[in-house]
């Protein structure tokens, strides 16, 4: 008994000592920056069920940085780029964040995963002044204002509003029957809420709200229900595979509503996979179309070609987004100049005003009080003959509807 209590006391003493002197290992020198190099990290899914979304964007960022390095770097510094895979799992994203900050000592982490991963890392991002552009469009990213998080893209609300505006103002539909088909995910539910709100603003009521989850291989019940209700317009909030499933199933039942998709499903891959089934498919996206004749998209295609990225085998819209993100990020580094610190980098990005990427993404503007994304997007229509999505509008913002 005596020995036991002595051992217990020793252990207790150890714990108390350790609690009192927990360390703070941040050093005073600038993390990841030397005279001729800067170390940048990235946390983006490479393997697992959603790898097809992360890979093209990651390749694009890597390819763009390689191109910048070949051209001499930024302010005389080459980018030393480290890409960590989080498999879209929060614990892995946190461990990758710790590795990048404390082991690799990176200046910044370009993307720290998707919405759940970034939310879990909010405090750490602030604490270690990690400038990043998350692969997420949720309101929580910029509302309230977060000093080190910058958003590129358009919120789901903006995208849905543009779809309704197109139906009501461009197609001039009279008493349209609109339904929503969504995935039970964060973006699916946000899209559904936005659709309900916009329908109400136009004095409409959604005919039905149906779930089509990621991984579904058949959409017969959804399609037959919509057909029975004579729905003219279907707003989908989903990824590419379920959208393909929906369009193909609708073709099988000879049902041809005008179907809309958000940025995650506005991709040439949908047209290539569906062919004529996609003839009434319209997508909203906040990146340029692969076939666009703009200087920015020409550059995107050149980067892809140089790095042997086959557009037929990847989601081109995400590759385009990757080049856009890397271009904006590099501009921030350039504006930070020779005196590169997390703070000067952040300040550099905050000087962007209508920054033109040549059509890769809409003009980018940030300020010291707002890092919110643009409210601009474009609508694309599927061209089954060419197998691409073709822009049918210019960059536009949703119409303001006064109640």
């Amino acid at each position: 008994m005596k020995r036991k209590s002595k051992t217990g006391l020793m252990l207790l003493a150890c714990v108390m000592i350790c609690f009192g002197v927990a360390p703070n290992s941040e050093s005073a020198e600038i993390r990841g920056v030397t005279n001729d190099s800067m170390r940048i990290g990235m946390i983006l899914v490479k393997t697992g069920p959603v790898a097809a979304l992360g890979l093209p964007e990651g390749w694009a960022i890597q390819d763009t940085f390689n191109g910048i390095n070949e051209a001499g770097g930024i302010s005389g510094r080459k980018i030393d780029f480290i890409w960590e895979d989080d498999q879209f799992k929060t614990p892995l994203a946190i461990s990758a964040f710790n590795k990048l900050i404390f082991r690799d000592k990176v200046l910044s982490i370009l993307t720290s995963g998707g919405t759940p991963q970034t939310i879990a890392l909010f405090d750490q991002i602030d604490k270690h002044q990690v400038v990043n552009i998350p692969n997420a469009l949720a309101d929580e990213m910029f509302n309230p204002h977060r000093p080190y998080i910058f958003i590129i893209g358009a919120t789901y609300e903006t995208q849905i509003e543009l779809m309704f505006d197109y139906i009501m103002n461009d197609l001039k539909a009279k008493d349209p029957k609109i339904a929503v088909v969504y995935a039970e995910t964060e973006f699916g539910k946000k899209g559904l809420e936005a659709a309900r709100k916009r329908a109400e603003q136009y004095g409409l009521k959604l005919v039905s709200e149906l779930v089509l989850n990621i991984g579904s291989v058949d959409a017969s019940s959804q399609v037959l229900s919509l057909k029975k209700d004579n729905v003219d317009f279907v707003v989908t909030c989903n990824l590419v595979p379920p959208t393909i499933t929906f369009l193909k199933t609708a073709e099988k039942y000879d049902y041809w509503p005008t179907t809309f998709g958000i940025n995650w499903s506005c991709d040439d891959m949908v047209v290539k996979a569906c062919k004529t089934a996609a003839k009434n498919y319209i997508g909203v996206n906040c990146v340029g179309g692969w076939a666009d004749d703009t200087p920015g998209m020409k550059r995107v295609r050149e980067i892809a070609k140089k790095n042997d990225r086959d557009p037929a085998k990847m989601l081109t819209s995400l590759y385009t987004m990757g080049v856009g993100v890397a271009t904006v990020y590099a501009e921030g580094l350039k504006r930070a100049g020779k005196n590169l610190t997390p703070e000067s980098f952040k300040n550099g990005l905050e000087t962007l005003k209508d920054f033109d990427t040549g059509g890769i993404v809409p003009p980018v503007t940030y300020s010291s009080t707002s890092h919110a994304p643009t409210t601009m997007s474009r609508l694309y229509r599927a061209d089954p003959d060419k197998g691409v999505m073709v822009a049918i509008t210019d960059w536009r913002t949703p119409k303001v509807i006064k109640k």
């Binding site: 002197v21 946190i94 879990a120």
Partner: protein, 348 residues
């Protein structure tokens, strides 16, 4: 040179610390462990924290599957129940961790009892299917019961505090994790050498025979479910504080499979095996990556060839190798090494 330990009584045989040397190494290990935040970088501390969580969950599963022989593919569901209970109590009622974490364990244990009763007559594949279905139901509930769990939007969990002293830093969270891991490891070790533990083993080896010799099958099978779920719930509680954000996608069937892999590789029915398996599977991806980097530095042709898919392949391969070559797992290898040192120069 110390020769084979000679035991004169049953009490000596079931003693946890068999020799003075075991105590010595254990104290050394504990001192090294407790001083970890003083010398290790936050990355290692975070890995230690998630290893700790995996240890608690694996211990729980090993009590159910390894000791009692009841296969479960729904362990992630108990982790989810504990995690969400902890998160909800911490956010809605601002309760401290020393109430929220045990509460997570208790809620998971109650659900474990609920699952245990209908599973009494199920064995093998049928039991696996029933537990897997329970996992699917829990996953569906945490996704759709939005008023309680926030659904796919997830819950942000505040940092735990101990009488006003914040434990949000990974270094401080480490001590909280170590406390729970130590407590539950000691409890599991003691459980295995008591009447309850022996009843569990008897059920695993042949439940009909166990019933005949007086083991109350209903009581002990349900008890195994309850204890295992309690461990899962506590692991979930620790998980919610470590990741600071909960999302239903974190608790899928894949997580249950990972826990099964941990106890198979570590050693079924072994407390040490649960610890070794959990730590091994948590740090292996890093080891593979570092080895690949090292080879890449030495041989140019290998540079940049590493792919994260390798981890998945290595995990699969390891499970096959352990099942065929070493069914007793890492703990079996460890006890063989120990025995050969003890008995040297004799072979046995």
């Amino acid at each position: 040179m110390r020769s084979k330990t000679f035991r004169e009584s049953y009490e000596e045989d079931i003693r946890i610390f068999q020799t003075l040397w075991v105590r010595f190494w254990l104290v050394l290990f504990i001192v090294a462990l407790l001083s970890l935040p003083l010398w290790a970088d936050p990355y290692i501390i975070y890995m230690a924290n998630i290893s700790g969580i995996a240890i608690v969950a694996a211990l729980g599963l090993n009590i159910l599957t390894g000791l009692t022989g009841q296969i479960s593919l729904g362990h992630a569901a108990f982790v989810a129940l504990g995690a969400y209970t902890t998160a909800i109590l911490a956010t809605s009622l601002s309760m401290p961790f020393w109430i929220t974490i045990p509460s997570g364990g208790i809620v998971a244990a109650l659900f474990g009892i609920l699952l245990g009763f209908p599973c009494l007559r199920l064995k093998g594949l049928y039991l696996a299917m029933a537990t897997m279905s329970f996992g699917v139901v829990v996953e569906y509930a945490v996704t759709h019961w939005e008023s309680l769990t926030m659904g796919v939007r997830g819950i942000s969990v505040p940092a735990p505090s101990f009488f006003g002293f914040s434990l949000g830093d990974p270094g401080k969270l480490f001590y909280m994790t170590v406390f729970f891991v130590a407590l539950l490891t000691i409890a599991a070790k003691n459980l295995a050498r008591t009447r309850v533990g022996r009843a569990f083993v008897a059920i695993r080896d042949r439940d009909v025979a166990a019933g005949i010799i007086g083991v109350n099958l209903t009581k002990y099978k349900v008890m195994a479910f309850a204890i295992s779920s309690f461990y899962g719930g506590v692991a979930g509680g620790l998980y919610s504080y470590t990741t600071a954000y909960l999302h239903p996608e974190n608790f899928t069937l894949l997580l249950s499979v990972e826990y099964i892999a941990m106890i198979i590789i570590g050693g079924l029915g072994s407390i040490l095996g649960s610890i070794l398996g959990a730590v091994f599977l948590t740090v292996t991806p890093d080891v593979i990556k570092n080895v690949a980097d090292l080879i890449g530095h030495r041989f140019v042709f290998f540079q940049g060839r590493y792919d994260e898919e390798w981890n998945v392949a290595v995990f699969g391969l390891l499970i096959i190798i352990f099942l065929i070559i070493e069914p007793t797992g890492l703990s079996g290898i460890w006890s063989r090494i120990k025995t050969s040192f003890k008995n040297w120069p004799f072979t046995y």
